[in-house]
Amino acid sequence: MQLAAALVLLSLSVLTGLAEVRAHVTGVDYDDARIRSGDDLRWADPDWDDRDWDQMSGAIETGFSEFQEPGVAWFRFSVDLDPSGATGLIASAVAAREVYWDGVLIGAAGQVGTDVASEQPGPVDLILTVPDSLATPGVHVLAIRMSTFRRPADLHGVYLMTVRVGSLRELLLDPAREFWLPFVFLGGFLLVGLYYGALFVADRRRREYLLTSLLCLAVAALLVAESWRWLVGYDYDLHLVRLRIVSGLTVAVGMLLAATFVVQFRQPRGPWVLGGLAAALAVLLALPAEHDPEAYRLFAVSLLVSLGLTLRAVLKRLPGSGAALFGVGVCAAVLLATGDEFMDTTFFPAFGVLLAGLLVSLGLQTRDARRRFETARAEAVRLEAELLKKHLQPHFLMNSLTSVAEWIETDPAVGVRALEALAAELRALSEVSGEPLIPMARELALCRTHLDVMGYRRDVRFDLDASGVDPDGPIPPAVLHTLVENAVTHNAYPPGRVQLTLRETRREGRRRLTLRAPLAGAARETSREGSGLRYVRARLEESVDGPWSVRSQASGDAWVTNIDLPLSGCAC
């Protein structure tokens, strides 16, 4: 536990520390920034009196809805350069724009136009070098002319303009600083995605492998979509497309994460959980909201659901649940600690921790499943051997053969039939012995071959009345057969007819099989709980999924055995 806590703290401090990497760029003081609709090239003049323009008052990244309508606008502010000066400038906007430094046009993104036809969209991020002659220490005026005719109408709350001025080297290194760690994880996400995809192809029953694979690939795609702007760049009119791809991938990651845990931990109400999550994400997407907080909320809701799923798994003591909860918990803690910036900066490393937890969890689960499988297989082999051995044991086989010998000498026709009956029982036993479950019809046939053999041995005519028993109901092999065998062995029936009855009753999702065998002679009750009943219990334990019971007792003039089984719980 202490180790886990230490790991959480370490992860948190590493991940939240990353948010500070961007401090190398000289910030621009927007407090005196002013903006105005309309177009006049004289507004580039640093001495132009803009005191009657709208004041931005620091809120440059939001608001100004009127400037988000298609049109042309100017944007002016001053920069106070320290003695180190400035060598670069990045002006980011969802608009075509021209940048004037003290009245000198130093660069443009696309071509500012007066309507859709005349405007040409340029890259979202316009990176410029500032000529040494202009970047002298002291106050400079920047004026940016922009047109937004191709700005998508439903681009909510995307900043109007972000300008960063400073060392060009620092400006260019900024995205690298932001993305180097996420890209370290990118390789991991891709490899794990491909690896689990291959595992799924090898074992199609493990759907959690497929989901883990898709989850990793979706996270990798999300990282590519997030970094595309800095790695490749695109014209501003495609900005919304990229944001929608990012939102879509965030939803996909959230859903896949929850689905992975639903499948991995066999959440019984999984479809409802996933349906509810999908509905919540749809509502969040439909609400008008800025992109970054929306992505944050989308992921936060998915993470909350995943936290619930893993917590339930831990409470149920499912194998591997602890590691999964650890990963999700660290990710959630980082999400809470970093707030809105989470999606930009710390998401990928945090998700790396989550994925590590998931992988450990899957590994533990696989190990556990393998152990259970091997135990079950060993048990099945043991039971099969026990069943076959019981009928190759001298007591059964040699007594049967001695009786057959007697019939052959005294009534050869009966002798041959007795021999055939013995062969039929041995054949039927070897056919069913390896199966975990067989239909009741086969089990009844097996019981009747045994009663035939015993009939020839005891000179008794045995009948098994099983009217009303579902012939398709599954049952472990030789369970009834063993009970029938016990009844016949432990009762000294006088020559004549002996009828055994089997009845099946169904109630409240359970079925009860009741076998009645008449008591006769000196039935030896002490030997009832012998190897026979042990075999019955072991078989039921192996093959029946859910509570079962076997009860055996004398009731009046009959020996009654009840087997209670779940109606649908058989591991068919």
């Binding site: 044991q393 001298p394 007591h395 086989l397 040699m398 007594n399 053969l401 001695t402 009786s403 057959v404 010998a405 007697e406 019939w407 000498e409 005294t410 020839y456 041995r457 005891r458 000179d459 008794v460 000294a492 020559p495 002679g521 000196a522």
Partner: protein, 232 residues
Amino acid sequence: MRMLIVEDEVVIARRLERLLREAAGDEIASIETCPSLDEAETLLTRRDIDVLFLDLNLNGFDGFDLLATSTASPFHTVVVSAHTERAIEAFDLGVLDFVGKPFGAERLRTTLDRLRGARAEHPAASLAIRSAGCIDLVRVADVAYVRAAGTYSELVLRDNSIRLHSKSLDRLLAVLPATFERVHRSYLVRMDEVVRLRASEGSRYHAVLASGDEVPVGRTRVEAVRQRLILL
């Protein structure tokens, strides 16, 4: 011969009876059949039964307890069992014969020969003795000689203690090792215990045992005992 068959398999009991009657019908005074030893209890205390054909599921300890009860009785015990791998253990307890299932007429003829006086295929290692309601086992190696006591026998052990056995001298001889010989109408002696043969007046002979005990030797057996001593 009076026979008792304890067998819960009707057809097998029928077979046993049929084959025995076919092989030795004129020697058999009666054959009774019973499904289990418990039910045969009253029959077992009767002294007029010569042989018990006992079906035992020897796959467990119960079977051997029952077997000891049977071999402690006056009659001979012949085990009829599917578990032929336990035959030696059954012989060790003093059964006259062990018939494996399935069996035929030929095998039962051997059994009948043994009943007529031949010795068991394997001698007993222990003799079961009924005493005060329970069964004791006496190691055959501890027995020095056996003395007739009416229809019973007295086992005289090397430590000179005496145990009473229900079987007659004849029936004990059939299951004892070949070193035991009948030296007198009323005596069986372990020949390797005999150190010399002492003659006294009136042509009466005694075998002197290592313990100093003396056992009378019948006139007709003297030569045989002497031959054994020479050979030893």
